[in-house]
Amino acid sequence: MRKTHPVVKGLALLTVWFLYLPLLGVAVCSFNTAKDGWVWKGFTFDWYVKLFDNDWILNAAWNTLVLGLVSTVIATVIGTVLAVGINRFPWGRKTNSFLNTMLNIPVVIPDIVMAGSLVVVFGILREVSSIFDMGMVDMIIGHVTFQIAFVALVVRSRLTLIGQDVEEAARDLFASNWYLMRKVMLPLMMPGIVAGAMLAFTLSLDDFVISFFLSGPDSQTLPLYIYASVRRGVTPQIHALSTLVVLVTVVLVVGAQFLSKKEEA
């Protein structure tokens, strides 16, 4: 262990405070009895209790969950198969670089550009079928589109890590294609698939821009609800809601870290 200069240490601690102070402020306000204004009046749990009476919020929470889960399941399946397809077959140099580009575009493209282009496409598709009306279907498609690449990248790096020895050993023992996939590769890939799925779900929960562009009247999600309310004026209820969302994020992040640490050990 190396000693750090006191100035470095001081700056580092200040930076961490700088990251957390706003969130702590919100958490404090969520327990404050004062309805508006920022002065401390007394401690209360009321704002949390009232969250569960608010149909708008319950509805938004439900939508967030549906959007996150459905898009994650679709993206995990497609992304995993895609990673296998990229990693496990003898593609030429050109095909490989094409596939790499396809995976990297969703990672580097600004989300607002992707959102705009989807608005245009769905606007045209809407003429064909009303399924594509602004709302949940559009949002799920949008989320899956950016999730696939992340899942595929995570699973692919897992596949590279596994290497080809086990596969060759299984073949030598006369494993069929299907048996090899199901009994050998899938268990080995599992940590990568789970990690990819968790990443995809967190990305969905984290997204604001794509949902904001594609949402319809009945598909409000929690980030959209918070954004709309904050623009009208902040209420303690919003603080309570935000604090809960942050807590869920903390649980997800710590859980994911715990899982990946266990995997290493």
Binding site: T4, G25, M102, D172, T249
Partner: protein, 302 residues
């Protein structure tokens, strides 16, 4: 054609059979990305050359009007308004990245110097904000900038704002929000470089009486350059396109390119112009990625 048998990963098979299975695996993912990513992208380029109808509908008639508007040409002569917005976005992204980098070095060195056990805790402290919703992290500043709290009082005493008003919306608040949102994007990759730092080089430099500045420039910076480069690109590109932070903390006067695009797809409903601005943003993104990949190669050689 003769079927030639080849050995691939322990399996005796034909090129044809492998290709069929491979294409089958690729098909779902690639067609999804083709249909919802590449195709919309191409369509977007086409839309930027179309015209807007009277009620915001698309009219497929070729015109360069959207680009002319973006360049500032209109019926009433030339104004640099939109170009200024583009420039301001680059400027904000640049300054945000710079501040984030300056704050990230002490923090990454501090985390790397913690004992193994508490290091994970400190790292988690940086990862949590990384994954926390941007809307929440941005509006959270409202409280700290409210009129009754020290920050606003200080600004008031210095005469920057009238008494009883919050310290937002303004440029200062935008930078506060931007740096908090993007700081973890620099810290995390930088930390992974700092963790692997070869301290013997730093000690050698110190033994040879280098100044602190030189130790940093010649022993620390080259070693941490890969992580730093990733951090910079992860911050600069999304910071240029951000729209939540300037929208909530910057107000209507402080518009960035993200807000301009959002307006075209929201209230103004001018898709061709929105597409043209988006392509402008894409070009800026491409340029920064290009600089990155060139610098990235240089780093590898060093």
């Amino acid at each position: 054609m003769e079927k030639k048998r080849i050995l691939w990963r322990g399996e005796l098979t034909t090129q044809r059979s492998l290709s069929i299975r491979g294409l089958f695996c690729l098909s779902s993912g690639i067609s999804w990305l083709m249909f919802f990513l590449m195709l919309p992208g191409l369509l977007f380029v086409a839309v930027s050359f179309a015209t807007r109808g009277d009620h915001g509908e698309l009219v497929w008639q070729f015109s360069l009007e959207s680009y002319e508007r973006l360049m500032g040409f209109s019926l009433f002569g030339w104004t640099p308004d939109y170009l200024l917005i583009l420039w301001r976005s680059v400027e904000v992204a640049f300054i945000t990245t710079l501040i984030a980098v300056l704050l990230s070095y002490p923090l990454s060195f501090f985390i790397a110097s913690r004992p193994a056990k508490s290091r994970y805790m400190w790292l988690t402290l940086v990862i949590v904000p990384f994954w926390t919703n941007m809307v929440i992290r941005t509006y959270a500043w409202f409280y700290l900038l409210s009129p009754d709290l020290p920050l606003a009082k200080l600004a008031c005493a210095l005469g920057f704002i009238p008494e009883g008003t919050p310290l937002y919306p303004n440029v200062f608040a935008v930078y506060l929000g931007m740096v908090t949102v993007f700081l973890p994007f620099v810290v995390l990759p930088l930390y992974s470089s700092v963790e692997r730092l070869d301290w013997s080089l730093v000690e050698a430099a110190q033994d040879l009486y280098s100044s602190r500045m030189r130790v940093f420039m010649q022993a620390i910076l080259p070693q941490t350059a890969p992580g730093l480069a990733v951090g910079i690109i992860l911050t600069f590109v999304p910071a240029m396109a951000t729209f939540v932070v300037p929208d909530l903390l910057g107000g209507a006067k402080y518009m960035l390119v993200g807000n301009l695009i959002q307006q075209q797809f929201g209230a103004s409903r001018d898709w061709p112009f929105g597409a043209a601005v988006s392509l402008g943003l894409m070009i800026l993104t491409m340029i920064s990625l290009q600089i990155y990949s060139r610098k990235g190669k240089e780093i590898e050689i060093v």
